[in-house]
Symmetry: C3
Subunit: 494 residues, 3 copies
Amino acid sequence: MRKTLVSMVAVLIWAPSVLGGDVPLSGGTEACLECHRTIHPGIVADWERSRMSKVTPAQALKKAELERRISVETAPGDLANVVVGCAECHTLSPDTHEDSFDHEDFRVHTVVTPRDCAACHALEAEQYTGNLMSHAYANLNNNPVYHNLMIAANGVQTFEDMKTVIKEPDPETSADSCNYCHGTQVAVRGFRTKETDFGEMELPILEGWPNQGVGRINPDTSKGSCAACHTRHQFAIETARKPYTCAECHKGPDVPAYKVYTVSKHGNIFSSLGDVWEFSSVPWKVGKDFSAPTCASCHVSLVVSDEGEVVARRTHQMNDRLSWRIFGLIYAHPHPKSPDTTIIKNKAGLPLPTEFTGEPVEGYLIDTVEQGRRRAAMQGVCLSCHSEGWVAGQFHRFEKTIQSANEMTLAATTVLLSAWERGAARGLAQGDGIFNEAIEKKWVEQWLFFANSTRYASAMAGADYGAFANGRWYMAKNIQEMVDWLEFKLKDKK
Amino acid sequence: MRKTLVSMVAVLIWAPSVLGGDVPLSGGTEACLECHRTIHPGIVADWERSRMSKVTPAQALKKAELERRISVETAPGDLANVVVGCAECHTLSPDTHEDSFDHEDFRVHTVVTPRDCAACHALEAEQYTGNLMSHAYANLNNNPVYHNLMIAANGVQTFEDMKTVIKEPDPETSADSCNYCHGTQVAVRGFRTKETDFGEMELPILEGWPNQGVGRINPDTSKGSCAACHTRHQFAIETARKPYTCAECHKGPDVPAYKVYTVSKHGNIFSSLGDVWEFSSVPWKVGKDFSAPTCASCHVSLVVSDEGEVVARRTHQMNDRLSWRIFGLIYAHPHPKSPDTTIIKNKAGLPLPTEFTGEPVEGYLIDTVEQGRRRAAMQGVCLSCHSEGWVAGQFHRFEKTIQSANEMTLAATTVLLSAWERGAARGLAQGDGIFNEAIEKKWVEQWLFFANSTRYASAMAGADYGAFANGRWYMAKNIQEMVDWLEFKLKDKK
Amino acid sequence: MRKTLVSMVAVLIWAPSVLGGDVPLSGGTEACLECHRTIHPGIVADWERSRMSKVTPAQALKKAELERRISVETAPGDLANVVVGCAECHTLSPDTHEDSFDHEDFRVHTVVTPRDCAACHALEAEQYTGNLMSHAYANLNNNPVYHNLMIAANGVQTFEDMKTVIKEPDPETSADSCNYCHGTQVAVRGFRTKETDFGEMELPILEGWPNQGVGRINPDTSKGSCAACHTRHQFAIETARKPYTCAECHKGPDVPAYKVYTVSKHGNIFSSLGDVWEFSSVPWKVGKDFSAPTCASCHVSLVVSDEGEVVARRTHQMNDRLSWRIFGLIYAHPHPKSPDTTIIKNKAGLPLPTEFTGEPVEGYLIDTVEQGRRRAAMQGVCLSCHSEGWVAGQFHRFEKTIQSANEMTLAATTVLLSAWERGAARGLAQGDGIFNEAIEKKWVEQWLFFANSTRYASAMAGADYGAFANGRWYMAKNIQEMVDWLEFKLKDKK
């Protein structure tokens, strides 16, 4: 009896709906499913649980504006009256996709891109182009300073005669490391012929594949991968709204957002009580659907009050509610104006948003007015549950922390500059990289790990990551160790 | 059909009950809700899901003793026959709260304190004053040795002429770091006037706010914040019983209790099967309500057998079941008698519970009889599921580990003493701090990170944190690195 | 109303079934339960929720082959027609268990072993003997090289005259550290007499107890503990299939499989959506029961498609689907042929599967044909959801990473060899251990932490652990620090 009831409940919650005559499938999708249901049962079952497999764009458009998950004004031509299946995405605009290939009676492309998704989600795709993430590939790989960091981190080293030599990493290594999150450049390297149960097939060979990085360079020249957050093929909004998705790229020592969240009050409430929250309703009602924010609540989602008042508008330009850029760079600074940061030049001629000693580079960063606008947008979310005094106190501390963490980075930079000056290490002036020697790597950790962690801990109120867990304790210790290293290095120079 | 049923279930589990005429709200609370339901929809919805919004103290007292969540003998005057709403807590005993201010027709205070909660939960508030946590502010900030550690960890450093100088951290930094968990001193700094939709308002400006640290010094002079664990405003007992709450302050390298739990058998069972456990029943039935302990089961909760026999009495003096104090101090030692540890003086005149070489300080620590009593209280919980032989083996190993971890701390201390003696570093005898130099910081990590982690791993059977994850491997390596450092430092002194 | 319904659902899901006349209990088990239900309520309630308490072996055998959880052909004699209770396991074959003792009218043993479980699960027990894990005790403790590592990691050190001395760790320390996961040697040390409410009892005193390590040496000479993964006494298949079980031993820096999983797309899907998956069905239907793999899906479970086609056969020889051994050893290499790795001898005469410079040792490792077979078995699971191109790309990168991580280990080894040669450290040739000095410990971390982490990150696509979270960044930095150390050490040797 118990077993039966439990199973029944489980089935009700979980089982994919049976696709019957009542769901308008396109002929293309029907053809795909015929074979792929057997070949790739996992994908198909996943898609069958998705909203896309059940609702046509035309139906989706009938919802009230705030309830809509689709942002075009009219349902797109052929797609309007069928559910969104395999063919709708994988055969859309075949001529624009370098990876399109003839497959049975269709021209199919493997890599579905934001430009494909824009057929229905135009506004989100557009906003995303303003997001730093969409430029994550070039901002890393095409910035000479950062490209250098990639080599120093990923290149294979050899040791001989008390010296190390470093090789430029191969593309597979970069794809397996930094570019896993930043995105690879996906391109067609050639084609291969395959014998299958269904006859001989010609299939593309892709380089930089697989990848779902946020700044992926796609074969149709678009940037990004919606699947980075809207995980295929269920595309559940629950996934995008739960912090585990962000954790894929935001958990490491360089950007411990997820870790900080888990020790914050917000994260605790989510973990303790979130199993009964409503993660799929649009719009998302603060207090009613959820009682503590996840990453999405503060940074992305359309949040409304129970009375239907808009607390925050949906944005896919995530830096939209952020006045400071607190990670990844040497010093925290006002957000760059353009998502393409390779255009920035500081006084030293380097593509960095601050000078080596921390001063923000003029002209490329948002001004205090825009910072205020973004801060207010974020605080709008906070104020749903917190008093003005609470929020003011929290942000006051956060800005103090930005300042003191920058000062601690400056102290480490001063030690490094001294090391270069005294010949204990070799920097740019000596024609060498700035990330390859031990002392330089300690300097990198000062800002990339410890100052970043401290700032995140402050921003999201997960104090341990600003104290002993890669926070202030490590900033303080690292400076002392850099000084000792310098002393040891200079001992026989005296 | 599926959708409808799923939604129905979700609604049944999650939706706040509609407050109607059947719930006796005080006039004060009704007045609060009128505006704040719109201004702070998140808080109000949260509170509406709480038990406090549905049960009056008088009703709560009708429960059988073991089922009671309220510990006063009689329902407190005005509060007895209304549910516990905004006004009941935020306007209670206004004269005792320095932060009380006139707000509409009420005298409201922002910071609800353990003394407020004691109106109904007197026994818990009283027990908590015996808990080390309630003194967490002074035990850290007013102990000169530990205050020094705070400076060394949090102070901003500058580097010049091969020397570093450290500034005393500002209060915001301390509040953002150590005092986030230890608690801040909350005080009224002044008042501000605000134009609102409801007219001009005078609102207090609080320093040290926001904060929910366990040893917070409140504007009514009480210590602590019940909200540290009983998260506002749902105050769900599930939250306090789930380990995520403890993780807010007990996850970092200095006290990795939560991390150890996650790799223990207990933590595995909780994570794998806990989603169907009963986390809200009082008393809490071992085996029936839960099949593996969380932090609360062993350290706090009233646990009974299915037959109703008391396995462990509820305590909010959490050190009540702990014979050893295994973290935070240089050496593990029997628990202090008084929760105020600033009163301790060792032979060297320092406020530390052991000598620098590990011997416990006489007179201030519990004796072996009391240790035995506490050990037995803890083992009572273990024995619900484990045989005597199992438990004896576990505790035997644990006490061995306390001993060997102390020995490994002693080895590191011996290296440090040698460094001070040989002039490689400057300690107390040289008029300097003991936490500011690199070698001193490595010494701190020996006990504060690695020995602590090893002891937790042993106590809670999550071995990795006693092996490679900040455990014995790091204790062993750290000593070798300290010795090498000393050798390098002394090279030109020969 | 809401409360009632919620409670009802909770009860339906969670409450143990009431044992009545319809469940055939053996007389032995009835006798056990009579007292132990009171003495150990936690265990009994746990077992009452188990499948074993409800289904007899004879009933279990009536299932279709793929649905069976029992692998003997015929139900074993006395056990066939009673459910599997206390007595069935704890009194089986008493003469073979050194720890059997007279208890009431029974001859009981404390330590239930894989040989006991084999009465019904013969195939799994047999497969497990081919699993490296079953030899985890001897492969660590009886390999002189690895035994040395245990001493260096766990031994208590003392410092005098600028030198450290290390003591061999006591058995309790080893049991609390490495052997917690690897398994202890459980043996009867004697007997003790105890006064109880039921009269005087003679009870065994076990050494190496408690322990549930995967290679535990049992009092009946068998190896392993099924309870390592099939947690007592509910023995829920959900537990074994969820990643938290594996995390007990596979989360630390030496083998961060669980951590990598949490930042992989698979782990994200599990965390976001897994709460409604079906974790208890046999066979396990990919797509239908779960939409992303857990550890078990890829490494252990019987996985089928919705149409019933076998995707992967169940195996308890977990290395069965693994072509490379990527952790624990100095270099990644083809899997050893025998689970007993103490038999391996490299050219230097050491029991290691590779030379010190990385070349695999001939004769002891699987060949490329067997590697191909195992790779294909694993890829069979991948292909349920991914295209051939995707899978090929993933494995191509993985094998590149194995190669480059080995090269980075070689670089570190070259520095160490140079240190030994130049007299900066003392290795085997100098009659010293290879794990005790600081430079040697840094070398260990190169492969045991950083290269292992990088390989796991690649294998399971959780990139951060191959980048900044103990990955390539640390491999690169560690080499630079080793070189600096060597330089400092040699300064006064010039």
